[in-house]
């Protein structure tokens, strides 16, 4: 490590202002601070500083995503071998799935980071670490069969139109990972819905065992076949077809625990999303006009990307609500809208993506009203105080 540090120090002057490679300054700094803690200190005024910076935050989220990622890899293998009716050991399944997911992750990171590096060069910014998480989130919310070029296109769209246009990391209105998914969802619906794309091999017309269906529980429900969905426990553990990282509610809850304990994800948002979903589900239970509405409300928690969206997408500190009261409203409305879109609109079996994107738009408005109301309250209090004094 020490020799590496020395080497970096030796080439550093080349990259500073006036150096040979001045233009590549932000690339150098990005790589340097990736390996070592940045030696830059604040020099103007006094700032309260914490040792946790953007990069450490992102690292914790990555760690929180690992259970979902590892289970996702296992599940890709499991679903594949189940569909061809073969048996395989748990490590074999995991390895099979891992090799399937790896290209997706590589494409997502190389395209996204490539654009971020170029954008940082053009603008003379530092490279932000925001994409570290986005780059892992994007493959996790894709079907395993998604063609790589589509993934690359969606990633580019998400980074450029979803983020750089608004000014880069920390300025985006929408969650970039969901922008990528929404782009694919509307551009190539055949690859994002249906019963073929969730399991490796099906889209290529591979032979499957009789009676096997790759339909997700949500698709079954939307088709009105609620009796065919897997058991609650299966859906909770996650041995069902679905996007790579979203199937296992158990793995996601482990991630949620990491986020909440470290204080990086807002527990208020997570809890309120689930509360909103439960409320809407119970409301539908009360009406019970069709079989989908009769489905017990808590089933919604384990189907599709509800839990994944609540834990990893809704808690995005940039695109979500910033005020503490606002977080309750924001999360609750995401829960309500997700279930509403799921149950009422059969064209969109998965409502979580659209619900979060929709509430991303409303988050600044919610914050605005929360702040205005608290200003009003304080003004009133100040007036009363002056009245008493005078």
């Amino acid at each position: 490590m020490n020799s590496l540090r020395k080497k970096i120090d030796k080439i550093k002057p080349n990259f500073q202002e006036g150096g040979k490679f001045e233009k590549l300054r932000s690339v150098f700094e990005g790589l340097e601070s990736f390996l070592f803690v940045s030696d830059r200190v604040t020099f103007k005024g006094s700032h309260v500083r914490d040792s946790i910076d953007l990069k450490r935050t992102m690292t914790v989220v990555i760690v929180a995503l690992l259970p979902a990622l590892l289970f996702g890899a296992y599940n890709v293998g499991l679903q594949h071998f189940r569909s061809i009716g073969a048996d395989a050991g748990i490590f074999h399944m995991f390895w099979f799935g891992f090799l399937k997911i790896l290209p997706l992750i590589i494409v997502s990171y190389s395209v996204g980071l490539g654009i971020e590096f170029i954008a940082a060069q053009i603008r003379g910014h530092e490279i932000n670490e925001g994409f570290l998480v986005t780059g892992l989130l994007i493959p996790l919310i894709m079907p395993v069969e998604i063609p790589l070029w589509m993934l690359a296109l969606a990633t580019a769209f998400a980074v450029i139109i979803g983020k750089e246009v608004f000014g880069g990391t920390g300025m985006n209105v929408f969650n970039p990972a969901l922008v990528a998914r929404a782009f694919l969802f509307f551009s190539y619906p055949a690859w994002m819905t249906g019963d073929k794309v969730w399991i490796e091999g099906l889209a290529k017309g591979q032979h499957v065992v009789d009676g096997f269906s790759g339909a997700t529980p949500l698709a079954l429900c939307a088709a009105g076949e609620t009796t065919k969905i897997p058991s609650f426990m299966d859906m909770f553990i996650g041995t069902i077809p679905g996007s790579i990282g979203e199937t296992s509610t158990l793995a996601i809850l482990i991630g949620a625990a990491i986020l909440i304990i470290t204080g990086i994800g807002s527990w208020k948002i997570i809890v309120s999303v689930f509360a909103g979903g439960l409320g809407m589900g119970l409301l539908f239970n009360a009406f019970s006009v069709n079989t989908y509405m009769e489905l017990p409300a808590y089933y919604h928690f384990v189907m599709g990307g509800f839990a994944f969206g609540a834990v990893f997408m809704a808690t995005d500190p940039v695109s979500g609500s910033q005020t503490e009261k606002g977080k309750w409203i924001y999360g609750f409305m995401i829960g309500v809208m997700s279930i509403l879109i799921r149950v009422i609109n059969p064209a969109y079996p998965e409502g979580v993506m659209l619900a979060i994107l929709l509430m991303n738009v409303f988050a600044p408005l919610i914050d605005y009203f929360i702040i205005q109301s608290s200003i009003k309250k304080r003004l009133k209090r100040a007036k009363i105080a002056t009245n008493i004094n005078s």
């Binding site: 063609p147 139109i161 246009v165 782009f183 509307f186 551009s187 190539y188 619906p189």
Partner: protein, 217 residues
């Protein structure tokens, strides 16, 4: 009186009336007028071109008519007079399309009629024709129509090519044979939001080329 300098028909000033709306005074990307129809009719190239021509004709002729009678229009009712002129022109264009290009007319449907409410028209009549002679007004109308049309055609080109894989209905992508290597048409290109993003990208491109368009903070 005969010594009054008559401006040549294509003087530099008049030419500028035509070229400015194509670039730095573009009605769509700089003045941000006429956006609604730009989103609606740019799915395919053919309707986009017909729409561009219709708007150009309507704005040019209305400009001439209003400029010719600008001195006799009472100020208080000028908007009504302008609307009557525009509406007459739009009805003529609409009937012409129905007679000679029925297919396109059906595709454009209500948007031909909605040229009446196109902000570019009212904008040009109010801002230019009410204060200028017929000939410059005519050129101004042509220029603004063309500036509007150019954006429409560029957006429609990409939307038809990437969304449907065709150009003027000719299957370009299929002839290139890239479907066989896994390429697919982008369904989002057909949806209106992509037109908005397309116009946004053009504005981005234009502003990065011409820094004087960026608002001062």
């Amino acid at each position: 009186m005969s010594k009054v300098d008559r401006e040549p028909i294509f003087s530099a000033k008049n030419l500028k009336l035509f070229t400015a709306p194509l670039g730095k005074d573009n009605p769509i990307t700089v003045q941000v007028l006429g956006i609604c129809s730009a989103l609606a009719v740019t799915v395919k190239l053919k309707p986009a071109i017909v729409m561009a021509l219709s708007v150009t004709i309507v704005v040019a002729v209305s400009n001439v008519v209003i400029a010719a009678m600008r001195k006799y229009i009472p100020d208080r009712i000028r908007i009504i007079v302008q609307l009557v002129v525009i509406a007459t022109m739009v009805i003529l264009v609409d009937q012409f399309l129905k007679a000679y290009a029925f297919d396109v007319s059906k595709q454009l449907s209500v948007f031909v009629g909605l040229i009446i409410t196109n902000c570019i028209l009212m904008g040009r009549l109010e801002a230019f024709a009410m204060a200028n002679k017929p000939w410059p007004s005519f050129i101004d109308g042509l220029g603004n129509g063309a500036g509007y049309g150019i954006i429409l055609i560029v957006v429609a080109f990409f939307r038809e090519l990437l969304g449907s894989g065709t150009l003027f209905g000719y299957p370009v992508m299929e002839k290139l044979g890239i479907y066989t290597i896994g390429y697919q048409n982008n369904g989002m290109m057909i949806l209106p939001p992509m037109a908005l993003i397309g116009v946004g990208l053009i504005i981005w491109f234009q502003r990065s080329r011409n820094k004087s368009l960026i608002e001062k903070k």
